[in-house]
């Protein structure tokens, strides 16, 4: 098998051998058909690899670059379009996994407790739960159920003092936990392979769709305690999946 030579063939092929070693390998190759065959296969492999068509990256960088040029952050927030030429100080949020996990557990418990209390209250007093002050605003119970929509538009909440007053503690905490986990997942995204990312995103979409359907149903039937509970459960599953996916990024280190 000429293992002493095959060990050197790679370096020879990569042109990393010194003069004397290179000469020795070449001399051996002249008299050894087996090693010449191995070298030819190596060449074939490299040629094959070089002939592979270029693959586009799984994540498109241009969206981020274009957003920066437009003065819009990757996260969709707006900022100045003209910035003096200076190195900005990056603002980063960093959370350890135990911190995230502990926060999520606490928030989940608070969220579930408040939601069930609200659901129970709305079940006992359907009249008061039927309408909100603005008419279009959902009731307490339904507001909990529609939390993702409310929290997905914090600017709208900020513009309305009444809306802020109606946002429950659990909603804000839930949204914050989801946002933190999504940020952690985004930061660790590079440590996951494309297929895992695709699966996680696909399943998050499935849960988001379930949450949206439950929220829509609850908007039409705000006193329905089953729908409230179902929504709380779906949101908990989203937190679970985000936690699991975030844990995968740390396991892949």
């Amino acid at each position: 098998m000429h293992e002493e030579w095959t060990d050197q063939l790679s370096d020879y092929f990569d042109d990393e051998l010194g003069g004397a070693e290179r000469e020795a390998v070449e001399q051996h190759l002249r008299g050894c058909a087996d090693c010449r065959a191995v070298l030819n296969d190596l060449k074939r492999v490299v040629a094959q690899a070089q002939s592979m068509p270029p693959r586009p990256p799984q994540a498109d960088l241009w969206a981020g670059i274009a957003a920066q040029f437009r003065g819009t952050g990757v996260d969709g927030t707006h900022h100045s379009t003209r910035v003096p030429f200076r190195r900005p100080v990056p603002v980063r949020f960093a959370f350890t996994m135990p911190q995230l996990a502990a926060a999520a557990v606490v928030l989940m418990a608070v969220s579930a407790g408040v939601a069930w209390q609200i659901a129970d209250r709305s079940g006992r007093n359907t009249n008061s739960a039927a309408t909100a002050a603005a008419g279009a605003q959902p009731s307490d119970g339904a507001r909990d159920a529609s939390a993702p929509a409310l929290l997905a538009a914090p600017d709208r909440d900020a513009a309305s003092g009444a809306a802020i007053a109606q946002v429950g503690y659990a909603d804000a905490q839930y949204d914050a936990a989801v946002a933190d986990l999504e940020k952690a997942l985004k930061q660790g995204r590079g440590r996951l392979d494309a297929s895992t990312i695709a699966i996680v995103e696909h399943n998050l979409q499935i849960i988001d769709q379930a949450i949206a359907q439950a929220r829509e149903a609850l908007a039409g039937d705000p006193a329905n305690s089953y729908l409230s509970g179902h929504l709380v459960e779906a949101r908990r599953r989203k937190l679970d999946l985000l936690r699991r996916a975030t844990a995968l990024t740390s396991e892949s280190n």
């Binding site: 190596l42 952050g73 900022h79 590079g190 499935i206």
Partner: protein, 371 residues
């Protein structure tokens, strides 16, 4: 780089090591990628068999009450390794991995498996059995004790389970056969749930799906409070329930059967809830069983074809070059390409980090004050 990769494959150095273990020792295996097959024997010893190149080393270490098995690479990333491990029947086993298919047969102690991409097939386990994967089917049979099963993108099949049971998937069905449990919690977002087993007095049975059907057997003589709720689906049964009327049924059904001591909660947002008598046909599971059978036949056909190809290759006589070393050049190229692709996300992340440093960043939005 491909040259290094290929040459490393040239020298195979299989590991076949047997280690004596004391009663109570736990096995802990981590395999980044590859199959892990665990079987049992009647010796107080663990045998580890792995085929690998001389670049890889299998570390088998015993400390305190744990025997750990790990692969490591002296150069470059660790490649796929297939483990065959034989353990005492009493041993507790923990297997983790990223791209690991895990199969266990006859393990009698605690079992925990956690993989990302990979099927899990376990027959046995007692005490605490925990199986987790993100993408892969989970099959568990003949387990006793507390069972926790978590999947994300595939289905779960549990059979002959005795003990508390919790199973969850996001995008997959949960099919159960011959379950004997007084504490059951099953949840999926997108998939069916089909239960099979008696309802114990004072037991709690909670079956929930968002988009799928739920099938539950209800014996003629059962002591349970049954609650079935749906939003877009329907509630139906193959028999007449006591006190049931179409008006009462609708989207919500609450019935007290016998003394009502057990609690059965069935909830499907968008699917049907089907009640049947034990032993009646389970059409909801037939499609899966048929698909599984077809898959098995296909797998067998593929294996047979591979074997035939190997026989033909052997008949070609002596070969020079890499084929002479038993190396499939195309497969090695594909592996190298896969490794290169796996590095792409890191490169993108690094580029994005560099971009963030080079370009102005957005100011983070203030969070709403909960007060």
């Amino acid at each position: 780089m491909p040259a290094h990769l290929i040459l490393a494959l040239l020298l195979m150095a299989p590991t076949d090591q047997t280690v004596q273990v004391a009663k109570g020792t736990k096995l802990d295996v981590n395999n980044f990628a590859g199959d892990v097959v665990i079987k049992t024997w009647d010796k107080d010893a663990v045998r580890v068999e792995v085929n690998h190149s001389d670049r890889e080393t299998i570390d088998i270490k015993q400390n305190d009450q744990t025997l750990t098995v790990r692969g490591r690479s002296s150069r470059g990333p660790l490649r796929s390794l297939d483990y065959n491990i034989t353990v005492p029947g009493w041993m507790a086993v923990n297997v983790s991995g990223n791209y690991a298919d895990v199969t266990m047969e006859g393990v009698g102690g605690d079992v925990t498996v956690d993989t990302t991409h990979g099927d899990i097939k376990v027959r046995g386990g007692s005490g605490f059995v925990s199986l987790k994967t993100v993408m892969g089917e989970i099959t568990l049979e003949k387990a006793k004790g507390r069972v926790e099963v978590r999947d994300v993108n595939e289905s779960i099949h549990l059979a002959d389970i005795n003990g508390d049971l919790s199973a969850e998937s996001t995008n997959g069905s949960i099919i159960l056969d011959r379950i004997d449990s007084g504490n059951v919690d099953l949840y999926t977002v997108n998939g069916n749930i089909s239960y099979d087993g008696p309802v114990r007095d004072k037991g709690v049975y909670r079956l929930t799906t968002h988009n799928g059907m739920i099938a539950m057997p209800i014996a003629e003589r059962v002591n349970a409070t049954l609650t079935a709720r749906t939003y877009n689906g329907s509630i139906r049964s193959t028999f007449t329930l006591p006190g049931d009327t179409p008006e009462r049924r609708g989207k919500r059904l609450t019935l007290t059967l016998g003394n009502g001591s057990a609690h059965i909660e069935l909830e499907s947002f968008g699917g049907a809830i089907a009640l049947r008598r034990p032993g009646e046909a389970r059409p909801e599971t037939e499609r899966k069983r048929t698909r599984d059978m077809v898959n098995k036949v296909l797998e067998k056909a593929i294996e047979d074809a591979k074997e035939k190809d190997k026989s033909k290759e052997k008949g070609k006589g002596d070969q020079f070059g890499l084929a002479g070393f038993g190396i499939d050049v195309d497969a090695v190229v594909a592996e190298a390409l896969a490794e290169a692709q796996a590095a792409i996300p890191d490169a993108i992340a690094a580029a994005q980090d560099a971009l963030r440093l080079a370009m102005p960043r957005a100011v983070p939005r203030p969070r709403p004050d909960p007060r």
